[in-house]
Every structure is written in C-alpha cells, then in structure tokens.
Amino acid sequence: MNITTLSFILLSVMAVGSAIMMISSKNPVYSILWLIVVFFSISGHYILLNAQFLAIVNIIVYAGAIMVLFLFVVMLMNLNKEMEPVKNQRMLLIAVVSGGSLLLVLLSALMKMDAQMPVQMKIGDQGLISNLGKVLFTNYVLPFEISSVLFLSAMIGAVVIGKKD
C-alpha cells in the first residue's frame, strides 16, 4: 500500500464520514460545517489527481463563497437550533433502503466491468491553470459567454425575489 492509496483511502473515509455526519446533524450549522469538511476532502482528491485549478476553485467557490452564503442564511433565519421536531423513522428507513438499493444496483452493474482502468495519479498537466485557461477562452468561449446569461438571470432573480415591493 503506497502513499497514494493511503491518502486516497483517508480522504475517502473523511469525505464519506463527513457527508454522513452532514445529513445526520440536527443543527443546520453543523451540517454546513460538515459539508465544508467534505469539500475539503474532495479538494484533497483533486490534488491527488493533480487537478490543481479545480482544487483551488473548489475551496474558494464552494467552501469559501457558497457555504458561507449558506451559513449567512442559516444565521439570518436563526435556524441554528434543532429545527426538526419529529424525526420520521419510517421515512429514514425507506430513504436508506431505496438509496441503498440504488447504490447497490449501480455498483453491482459497474463492478462487473472486466477491464482494469487505472487513473493517472499525481501527474499530468491537464488540470493546470494555464492549460485550462487556454482551453476555456478558446474552445469554450461560447459556453463561457453564455454562462453570463445564467448569472444575469440569477442576478435578476435576486432582484425580483429579494427586493421588497
């Protein structure tokens, strides 16, 4: 077991564990914090895969911006208490069973693949900022520009919905 495998396992356990903690925490603030831990461990994975740009963006955008926004909203609403009075055990069971069987079905199908398909670890330059940047502004200029429309609509949305009449 080399260091790559070890870190993979470590990061994976961390990600899955925190994810479980996130969905099971009663306090929304804890959930947010656990989710941030998940994001960090996924960023760790990105680094392991030598996708540096995404690792950083993930931290900045997700953990930094988005989750902070969530946190703000939760605080704003004063939801930092245990808000859900009754836990529906039956729903939990059904959810776990159906989710679990979905996972099982998918995995049992996918694991039947015979071919070993190794993943390039720690090396490779596709994930470097310069390379991605070049591609993004040449080949991907259309989606890039078009996503501005997305942001415009998000902006208008904030105005339309958020602004008091």
Partner: protein, 463 residues
C-alpha cells in the same frame, strides 16, 4: 445562432428598460419588438442558412433547418404569448421589465437546447431555461402558493440537475473518445459499456423530469398550479417543448444507433405518463391543475417521438410543439381572464362571451386531437411514426385509448361553456378587450390552418 445571441442581448435590453423606463406598458411593446426581431432574424437564418454572427463555436452548436424551424415555432408561440398575455404579465408584479428579460433569457436557453451539440451546452441551456423559471414561478411573492411552487420546483430541479450531471459524467467516462460531443461519443451497435448505459438512464431520468414525464413528473402539477398563470402558460408550452426537442436531439444523436436497447425504458415512461396524466386529470376540479395534468398527458404523446425516433417522429415533434403550444397558450390566456378557475367557473361562457367560448372550444378540440385541428395532425404524425417504427405496436393502441380518455376532461370544459347555465349575478371574467378577441380568433384560426395544412411548418424542416 442569431436567436441565441439576440435573445441574450434583448434580455439585457429589457433588463435595462426596467431600470430606465418607469412606464409599465412600455416593456410590453419593447418585448414585442424584440420578439419580432428575433423571429425575423431567425427566419433569415432559416431561409438563407447564414447567421449574422460569425463565431467559431468549435462545433458546440449545430444549426440546421430542423432546429431553426423549431426555434421559429418557439419564437412564434412566444410572440403569440406576448400578444395574448402581455397585459397579464404587467399585472403579475412590479418588475415587468425583469420578467420580460427573464423570458428572453429563457428563449436563449430554448435556442441553446434546440441547437446544442455537446452535453455542456445542453447542461447550460437547460439551466438557463430552468433558473429564470424558478424565479418566475416565485414571482408572485405574497402568494404562498407561488412561494411553495417556486421552492418545490427549485429543490426538485436542482436534484434533477444532479442526476443529469451524474449521467453526463458516466457518458463521458464510458465514451472511448472521452468527449462531450453528442455525435462523437462513438458507440458501436453492439452491447454497450455499462457506464454508457448508466449514464443513459440518468440522462433519460433528468430529461424526463424536464418534460414532466412520469414517474418524474411530480413537480408539474404543483408548480403549474402555484405559479402565476401567465408563467404557467409559458413554462408548460415553450419551455416544455424545448425540453422535448433537446431530449429527442440528445437521444437521437447520441444514442440513436442503439435505439432498441433503451426503447423499453421509453415504453415504460410513456405508458406511465399517459396513465398518470390522463387518469389523474379526470378528477381535477380546477382547470389550471387539470391543464397541468393534461400537459403531462400530452407529454406522453410527445414521447412517441423518442419511442419511434424516425424522421416522421421528428417532423411530428415540431408539429406537436406548435400545435400543443398554440392551443395551450390560447386556453391559458382565456383561463387567466376567468374569475374562477374551477370548471364551474366556465359555466355558460358561450352566452356571455361567444368568441372566447368558441376559440376555447377549438383549443380544446385541438388538444383532444380532433381532425381539422393542428392537434390532430400532430397526434397523427406521432402515431404514424410509432407505427412505422415497427416495435411494440400495442403501445400505440394503449395510447389511443388514453387519447379517448383525454376527451373526457377536455370536453368537461366544453360542456360547461355551452351546455350549462352560469350562476346568477356571477362576474365571470375580467374585462376583455376586442383586441384580445381578435387575437384569440387568429390563434384559433392558426390551429385550423395547421390542421388542414401542416406543411406550413413542415415545409420549413427541409428547407
């Protein structure tokens, strides 16, 4: 291409109009001008095959007469929508300019969905269509139903986005070419790698969600019911048929070669959609909610395009898009004028407003699929396609039985309008202008024209 860029630009124009122009009715005219411009620009592209904008898109978009015609249909329906419902949009809330801006952005998304050639554009296009819709759904801010609809729509929409992305990821992973271009995923005709299959199912689920096909339709009735009626009209027509066009475009180009391998799934979805849509619609008392279920039922018929996936199916889809949208926009525009959205609210409409009743009848007949209406032609093309396809013939028979059931709820409204007496001293509708009447008649006439002469649209498909 013209439509994508101009609609984005015009969206921004509308956005600024909201800031600079205080008069509430100006945005409507501006929007009409914009849609006219879009329509003409798209028409020029369709006619000459050349775009105003010469951008290297690296094959991410693919325009041909087929999808340009579809865009033309969508734009035309939007123009009809603006004409019929412009005033009602003004009444929805304070941000008229913004609403129109969002509608134009949605049109941008529609155009993207019609012309995409990579999964990335599809994803962005779908999101551009969805996000403004979340907002428009919640635009009636004081109305709890509208709030609730927006949140439901948003949560479920986000969930389906997740599903879709998972699908895209698996397609990418399974593709030997490592590509998002739908036409070069390169599948043999033999047995598929399991990753592609997984991706295909995920994609199918998320697209079914967008077109509200069962069992992924659950958002539809609630959202259509809760959203402001004008926007319900828009999202149940133009956005939905765009979703369908994207659905068909995706599956035809990416997985068309292995059609038989996933046809069973479509059969399952198709039958459940027809079943749930038609059966549940029967019991509805609110016309708005009934139309929501009817739109599910109609989706069931449109799914025949995927079921058959041949030339006739694609022709039929475009025709269906037009027929369904025109009729639904028409019937919604009448519904908006009603004071009472229940079926009883329509009682005796023919006495007070014969023109409204007549055109509503034509719309409903078209939705039922009675000959001489566009609705018949479109259903006919779908059935043609399905029969031509040659597999699962029984599905066609089941479908027509459901089509007969659909008459049950559409005719309830006709019965109410013509054969029942209104309650005493009942103010049935808000004020109705003569212009509206004329537009309605035009709209109804369009349905008849398309019913007699579908070439009007189909002729452009092979231009």
């Amino acid at each position: 291409m013209n439509a994508i860029i101009l609609s984005a630009i015009w969206g921004i124009v509308m956005m600024f109009s909201a800031v600079f122009i205080k008069n509430k009715s100006v945005p409507k005219y501006l929007a009409l001008a914009g849609i006219a411009l879009l329509f003409i620009a798209n028409g020029i592209e369709l006619n000459s095959g050349r775009s105003f904008f010469n951008i290297d898109v690296h094959g991410m978009l693919h325009t041909n007469s087929f999808n340009l015609t579809f865009i033309a249909v969508a734009l035309g329906c939007t123009a009809m929508f603006f004409l019929l419902n412009g005033r009602d949009i003004e009444k929805t809330g304070a941000h008229v300019g913004e609403y129109f801006a969002l509608l134009f952005f949605i049109l941008c998304g529609v155009s993207l969905c019609a012309t995409f050639n990579t999964l990335l554009i599809l994803f962005i296009g779908i999101e551009i269509m969805s996000i403004p819709l979340y907002i428009l759904t919640g635009s009636d801010k004081r109305n709890l139903k509208s709030n609730e609809a927006a949140l439901k729509y948003f949560l479920m929409g986000a969930f389906s986005t997740g599903i879709m992305l998972m699908g895209i990821a698996f397609i990418y992973g399974g593709s030997p070419n490592a590509t998002f271009y739908i036409d070069s995923i390169q599948l043999g005709t033999g047995k598929l790698p399991v990753m592609i299959l997984v991706g295909l199912v995920f994609l199918m689920v998320s697209m079914s969600f967008k077109v509200s096909a069962a069992p992924f339709h659950f958002w539809t009735p609630d959202v259509y019911d809760g959203a402001p009626t004008v926007f319900t009209s828009f999202m149940s027509t133009i956005v939905k048929v765009a979703g369908f066009f994207a659905f068909v475009r995706l599956f035809e180009n990416a997985f068309g070669a292995i059609h038989t391998q996933w046809q069973t799934l479509i059969v399952f979805i198709l039958i459940s959609t027809l079943l749930i849509g038609n059966i549940t619609a029967v019991f509805q008392q609110s016309v708005k909610r009934m139309l929501a279920y009817s739109s599910i039922a109609q989706a069931g018929f449109m799914l025949f395009a995927l079921f058959a996936l041949n030339v006739r199916a694609k022709e039929g889809l475009v025709l269906y898009a037009a027929a369904y949208s025109i009729a639904t926009i028409g019937i919604f525009s009448i519904l908006i004028k009603m004071e009472d959205f229940t079926i009883d609210g329509f009682n005796g409409l023919s006495k007070k407003h014969p023109i409204l009743a007549l055109s509503a009848t034509i719309f409903l007949l078209s939705l039922t699929g009675i000959p001489l209406t566009a609705g018949f032609q479109s259903k006919f093309y779908m059935l043609m396609a399905a029969v031509e396809n040659g597999h699962h013939f029984w599905v066609v028979i089941v479908a027509v039985i459901f089509a007969a059931i659909s008459a049950y709820y559409y005719f309830k409204i006709i019965q109410a309008m013509y054969f029942k007496e209104p309650a005493e001293d009942f103010i049935q509708t808000s004020e109705i202008s003569n212009g509206f009447r004329i537009l309605l008649i035009l709209n109804a006439a369009l349905i008849i024209v398309l019913g007699v002469y579908p070439e009007l649209i189909l002729g452009w498909l092979y231009h």
